[in-house]
């Protein structure tokens, strides 16, 4: 099936309906990322917090994700740090609770 892609103002922006092959209905990759988190928590302990970004940066990532750069996060460090992963999960859960109570 050929699907003609209409470009919007951003070069790579395409609308949802143009890509029916992406399984949106029942698959948002949650399980994959949960599994990844489990693996990082189990296999990458970093009690000395070597290479960790400042906790303020992680808070900012949760509150204003568009303001944070990869450099501030020390690139993909979080994917190899149980401490950062744990803090991110906590911050994200806190934010969800706050949003739910508002």
């Amino acid at each position: 099936m050929n699907v003609a892609l209409s470009r919007s103002f951003r070069k790579d922006a395409v609308t949802l309906t143009e890509h029916p092959f992406i399984p949106f209905d029942n698959e948002d990759d949650s399980l994959l990322f949960e599994k990844l988190q489990e693996q990082v928590l189990a296999h990458y302990p970093n009690p000395e917090r070597k290479g960790c970004p400042d906790p303020a940066v992680l808070r900012n990532l949760i509150d204003n994700p568009s303001d944070v750069t990869l450099a501030e996060l020390n690139d993909l460090h979080i994917f190899k740090c149980a401490e950062c992963t744990r803090l991110l999960i906590e911050l994200r859960e806190k934010k969800k609770h706050t949003q739910a109570s508002e």
Binding site: V14, T15, H19, I22, L36, A42, L61, S66, L73, F79
Partner: protein, 186 residues
């Protein structure tokens, strides 16, 4: 090198009372074979530091053979042991053919690191999997990892959900493949 006593080298030879001749003849054979084993280890491996291990391995094989056959005299056992020692020297030489030994393990400093490999051998290395991915894909995946929904990630990056998912599709497929591979291995 100090000549170990036959008792040193035959320490793991255990025979039933009716096969005591094995231990007796092996002790004589070890005494006969030792100088030749040392020389063979030196000339073929470049050093004689493993000669004890080589002779012990040969003794082990000799015992297995002697237990299943008729009793032999010291001369015949010596010949058998000689052959097995040379086989073991050749086997070790082939195994180490591509390795270069510099110094010995005794010269290494003591270390408290046990084996860091054990800790991470079953974890995915996302840094390697995502090597070469553009920064927006890396950031999007970090946000998804931080439990943002795809729609929120799209909003943060100033694009649409479909676009951001399409951009990350290939990287996610690679992660899935690696994860499935790891699960199959474990």
């Amino acid at each position: 090198m100090r000549l170990p006593t036959p008792a040193d080298l035959c320490w793991n030879v255990k025979c039933s009372p009716d096969q005591e001749w094995i231990e007796r003849t092996l002790r004589i054979a070890v005494e006969n074979v030792w100088p030749q084993a040392l020389e063979a280890a030196h000339s073929r491996n470049g050093h004689g530091s493993h000669v004890v291990e080589i002779v012990e391995s040969a003794i082990e094989h000799a015992v297995c053979r002697l237990k299943t056959g008729d009793p032999l005299g010291p001369e015949q056992v010596t010949q058998l042991l000689q052959r097995l020692v040379l086989q073991e020297v050749r086997r070790r030489r082939r195994a180490n053919g591509r390795m270069v030994f510099v110094g010995s393990s005794e010269e290494l400093p003591p270390t408290t690191v046990r084996n860091p490999q054990i800790q991470i051998d079953c974890a995915l290395d996302l840094e390697i999997i995502l090597q070469g991915e553009p920064p927006d894909v890396r950031l999007a995946l970090l946000l998804r990892y931080s439990r943002f929904r795809w729609s929120e990630i799209a909003a943060a990056l100033g694009t649409t959900e479909a676009a951001v998912r399409l951009r990350c599709k290939r990287a996610i497929e690679r992660i899935r493949e690696q994860q499935e591979g790891e699960q199959h291995e474990s």
